[in-house]
Symmetry: C2
Subunit: 355 residues, 2 copies
């Protein structure tokens, strides 16, 4: 599996995903501004991966803060937090990384500043390692719902490239393959940025997992023909009532699955679940510039001067979601809030195959 991001020699090395699949190029970020730029320009993308990038960006930013004491250090870190938070509004994982860093620092406030800087680097590396473990747990829980011979559809890229290196939506697919199940994957190309085409198809091919690329328009026809058994997608932010924000087009896929009786699963590490928001309609949705629609790899495809609406994410209401696959188990969207409650009997409400 390809390495998406790592902290090496005091730099954040990220694979420049905008150049895939034509070129495999790594960028070494030497300060937090380069990390923020990498997130904004989609060199790194995918909710878990940008959470990791944010944690590493914070560690990099902290290193360059000159501060004599804790309060001065926290003040100096504020622009780092704000710059990273401002890059992309929809994924909750940057916020999650900032809160995690603040909590760590607050717990260790009596340590010297230089030690705090070291702790942030150590924790950023831990975020990466934990992410891979979480993906594997999601993979094991989710793989129960993939039968031998199944065809799975996925949208965008919630694969190894969107994470520390195993994938959320591709986690169950990878585990199913490891279990010896013969499966097929349809990858929606995912316009406008073509993450499904450029990234998901590419990374599954690297690992010899049978994948077929289709345009986003084709999913409906295949669902209607009965050629797809289940859908698994990722999420940039899933909220307390089980509504799911994910790449634009996810809502359409979910509606088409429901219309054709095909189960629709969302792979969501706890880091992408925002219990502070009650309903999906309150999730901030990023709109991006027209160039992603009017140009492909720098090549103009649309008429000069055409007006464009480029909404990067949509919200899939909980009623279209069969199950949310977390590292703690698979839950009906309506039961998701229990994950945020102490003493909830998760085992009792967990979704099991065949239900």
């Amino acid at each position: 599996m390809v390495k998406t991001i790592e902290f090496v020699d005091g730099k954040v090395r990220m694979l420049d995903q905008t150049r895939l699949p034509l070129e495999v190029v790594y960028v070494d970020c030497t300060d937090y501004h380069m990390v923020a730029e990498g997130i904004k320009k989609l060199r790194i993308r995918g909710a878990p991966a940008i959470g990791i990038a944010a944690a590493m960006g914070i560690a990099l930013g902290a290193r360059d803060v000159r501060a004599a004491d804790f309060d001065e250090f926290m003040n100096g870190l504020e622009p780092v937090f704000q710059t990273l938070l401002a890059t992309r509004p929809t994924a909750v994982n940057i916020q999650w990384a900032v809160e995690r860093a603040k909590k760590l620092l607050s717990e260790k406030r009596h340590e010297p500043v230089d030690r705090l800087k070291e702790l942030l680097v150590e924790d950023a590396k831990k975020v990466l390692e934990e992410d891979i473990q979480i993906n594997r747990a999601i993979g094991r829980w989710g793989a129960q719902f993939i039968r031998d011979g199944d065809t799975v559809i996925t949208h965008c890229n919630a694969g190894s490239l969107a994470t520390g290196g195993y994938g959320t939506a591709t986690g169950p697919i990878r585990v199913a393959v490891e279990q010896g199940k013969k499966i097929q994957v349809y990858a929606d190309e995912t316009r406008p940025v073509l993450q499904g085409c450029r990234l998901t198809a590419w990374e599954l091919m690297q690992d010899n997992i049978p994948v077929t690329l289709i345009t986003d328009n084709t999913a409906g026809a295949l669902l209607r023909k009965g050629e797809i058994n289940l859908a698994i997608v990722g999420t940039d932010r899933t909220v307390a009532n089980g509504d799911v924000a994910n790449k634009i087009g996810t809502y359409s896929l979910a509606v088409l699955c429901k219309e054709n009786g095909v189960p629709f699963y969302v792979a969501a590490p706890l880091s992408s679940i925002d219990f502070s928001i009650p309903s999906g309609d309150l999730i901030p949705i990023e709109e991006r510039g027209p160039e992603e629609v009017t140009h492909v790899f720098g090549c103009r495809i649309a008429p000069e001067g055409v007006r464009v609406r480029n909404i990067a994410f949509d919200v899939t209401p909980a009623r279209y979601v069969t199950g949310i696959i977390t590292e703690k188990g698979v839950f009906r969207p309506g039961d998701l809030h229990l994950l945020n409650e102490k003493d909830a009997d998760l085992e009792a409400v967990m979704l099991k195959p065949g239900e």
Copy 2:
């Protein structure tokens, strides 16, 4: 409005739509093989336009047939018919043009062969003129369903470029604008061949009709937000029970419209209605090569060697269709068969605005 196709100086001149919107280039076809190639390579596309192209191709092919009598002439024409019919299987309009030519020739079988050749040229020109009149009639019937201030979504290109020059799906839009209604159009870009981006957005911009380009993935989110009032699309073949074959992605749009309570209309000249087929599942559906998905304007976007499924059309079951807009009026899909029955009281079953 731009000229899609015409018969001039004994040649068929077609706009090469594969080069739009970057270049406006015409191709002069000097024999029927060039016409067939133009249809196959999508230089001309859209069910009505390829019906016109087929009629002109037949006239061109007939000119070069050496025959002493009617039977020899018909034998000589057979390869012309077969070549044109083999270009694209889904649109019924090529078949319609072949049947129209055969009927004309059979009626005039006692005329000398040279006169028959002239008659085919005259009739091909008439097909073009009639098409524009039919589009205008579709426009008038359909415009009743567009209110001042409405936002219309369309998929692919069923505009002037898909027809003799006024458009089927864009007919009602053009008439609504002529009636002074202030309307907005969302054009789905329509992957893989991007007819919505390259053709629909371009032709509406030429005529100053407010159009916004979106990816196919974006339609669902806008429908859910309530930002779209109605959908109008074209059709390559609509069959007796009201099932509609049209560009891949049409089915998805129709499902999303239904899910969000948005009416979904199909603009269908009688030439694209095939009463001989009882149900949409019997319509032959063209699958095309992978290059349309893996490359955009010659630029590779997908990993080398990726497997691709490129289904060019899908079938929208009649239950998703609010009304079918023909040159004879607007009908519920379930009433469509009445258009093929003598003495049916069409006026009584016609769909009226507000119903």
